[in-house]
Symmetry: C2
Subunit: 336 residues, 2 copies
């Protein structure tokens, strides 16, 4: 029966879903970074006319999802399902965006791995015969995430030098069973891995083992050589987590250093003073729906593996002395 399952954690699509369109919205800091040309909407300020940052985040996600549908000239009501998630308690950004969009909605929580998870499940819905079109999305906002997980940004606290900067941004991708564009060919669902990290400023260290676990599973399940992809990108380990993931992979005799980078490393320049780089569900969502897919559409990249990485702690679990488990979900996207 499970004729599309390959190995322990991976599925291979028989009719790989097409990336029909993509759209994103980012905050002003992201709009000043090295990937600025690849963003559809750049907010002038972090509120964008809303009374709270939470409302801004929900609006960004709604606009990203509407934008993806519009760009493909697809009416919202001809889309079968929307799948989305975010970092906020009870994923309110996604719930409120879904209320405005009006589509049948599947709410996900995978922390910063959410964009990859929504693409993995969305692809299963299409390839499985349950949908023709699925709208996938994810969002985060620097100021909503920081006050929920760490400290309110208004306090102006000194950040740890190894901390990542939560991206203000939302990205959406419209998947379809027919059409022209890069295709989602496989997906690897991650396991929850916990090496005992407890510092909520050091998420890269918490996530690196989970990402390495998923990468090793992906290549083993599909029996693909390390150089199969011309671009392997995590989203988002940051500079320190990326280094740690490379070390774990090397210890497992697996070397993909040459083509391996991270959305959190890509999105800011060193001059922007974000320390270890970007994080948040919105980070891989806007880098994938921006720079990476742009390069695929231009023919610069042919085969891409995105490994979304999520740190699965809450303030309650950390206050109760729990460590921070993490997860990585991977999707491969390949040009025709």
């Amino acid at each position: 029966m499970n004729n599309k399952k390959v190995g322990n954690q991976t599925v291979s699509f028989q009719s790989p879903p097409v990336v029909l369109s993509k759209f994103n919205a980012v905050g002003p800091k992201e709009g000043q970074g090295p990937l600025k040309e690849s963003f559809d909407i750049i907010l002038q300020d972090t509120y964008d006319g809303e009374k709270s940052w939470e409302k801004t985040e929900a609006k960004m996600l709604e606009n990203a999802m509407r934008g993806a549908a519009n760009k493909a000239n697809i009416a919202l009501d001809s889309i079968d399902y929307a799948l989305a998630g975010d970092l906020l308690n009870q994923i309110i950004s996604s719930n409120f965006a879904a209320r405005q969009i009006g589509l049948p909605f599947i709410g996900l929580y995978g922390a910063c791995s959410t964009m990859a998870l929504s693409l993995a499940l969305g692809s299963m819905l299409i390839d499985g015969g349950y949908a023709s079109k699925v709208l996938c999305g994810a969002s985060s906002h620097h100021d909503t995430a920081e006050r929920q997980y760490r400290l309110p940004t208004e306090q102006g606290n000194q950040r740890a030098m190894y901390a990542q900067w939560t991206v203000t941004g939302a990205g959406s991708i419209l998947l379809a069973d027919t059409g022209t564009g890069p295709k989602v060919t496989t997906a690897t669902i991650g396991r929850v891995i916990d090496y005992g990290e407890t510092d909520a400023n050091n998420m890269g260290a918490a996530m690196a083992p989970a990402v390495a676990d998923t990468i090793l599973a992906h290549f083993k399940d599909l029996n693909r050589p390390p150089d199969y992809y011309d671009f392997v990108v995590t989203g988002d380990l940051g500079a320190i987590g990326l280094q740690l993931a490379m070390e774990i992979l090397k210890k497992n005799n697996f070397n993909i250093t040459g083509q391996f980078t991270d959305c959190g490393v890509m999105i800011y320049s060193p001059e922007q003073d974000t320390h270890a780089g970007g994080s948040g569900c919105g980070c891989s969502a806007v880098v994938l729906s921006g720079n990476i897919l742009d390069r695929m559409l231009k023919g610069e990249l042919k085969k891409v593996l995105l490994i979304g990485s999520g740190c699965l702690h809450s303030t309650a679990s950390s206050l109760q002395g729990e460590t921070m488990p993490a997860i990585g979900h991977a999707v491969s996207i390949e040009a025709n």
Copy 2:
């Protein structure tokens, strides 16, 4: 391509997944209620030897998932995926349970609709050819939910007479592509509906419109008569929400009053003083994996429609003046 989609929101499975086994764990109050015979584990107290209620909740969910696998004599590592969610911020109960279980994990957030959502997606994974066995689960704990959403239970505040009582419980169902047992035949994915309710004690009122919307979509999509099912059960509207849902359905000329009830109404007796009845992801999870499936296995029920109902607010959204949107996801389970 989408040959399994029926109407706007519903999918019909070509090879309906089998409910291979089920297992649940509940708190002492639930263990004294009218459904006590249908629970596998009844905790002696709400801590069960753990230092916090959050840890107790994660342990209940882990035990429910392990229990379902054990009861079917299936080794955990021969199960393809686990899907679960709960009410806590960042679904920590599910994340920590998944860490212990070790399976590839898909995290969901649908508030109290989560058990139905996990069964809907789990069935798509099996029927779609991506998995042979999927472990679905959901949990809630009265004291973790109350202190997160409302007030710490230690304060002993007077509860509103129309409030529901969050169930302490976790339920798990093992779905498989082969075997003997009732089958998940269809699933209807809900839309986010918001009638403007703002009182976090009145969740039944917030959820009733979303549940009615999904019920109407389900019967319309499949063109089934109102008396198709011998048991239509929401999870969990409570007594007030159930009444409101019936009124909305009647206004739409749809009458299923005879066979229509609610998991939150079933789980406690009036003497237990829970006011409007049970709520929480664990409520429909333990009533379905207990009483309802027991009656199906005994032949007392043949065709069941479960509509999981979730209220999609957070304390942050409510404090910012937002209303409480809600969602309902439905799965039909039919005996052979």
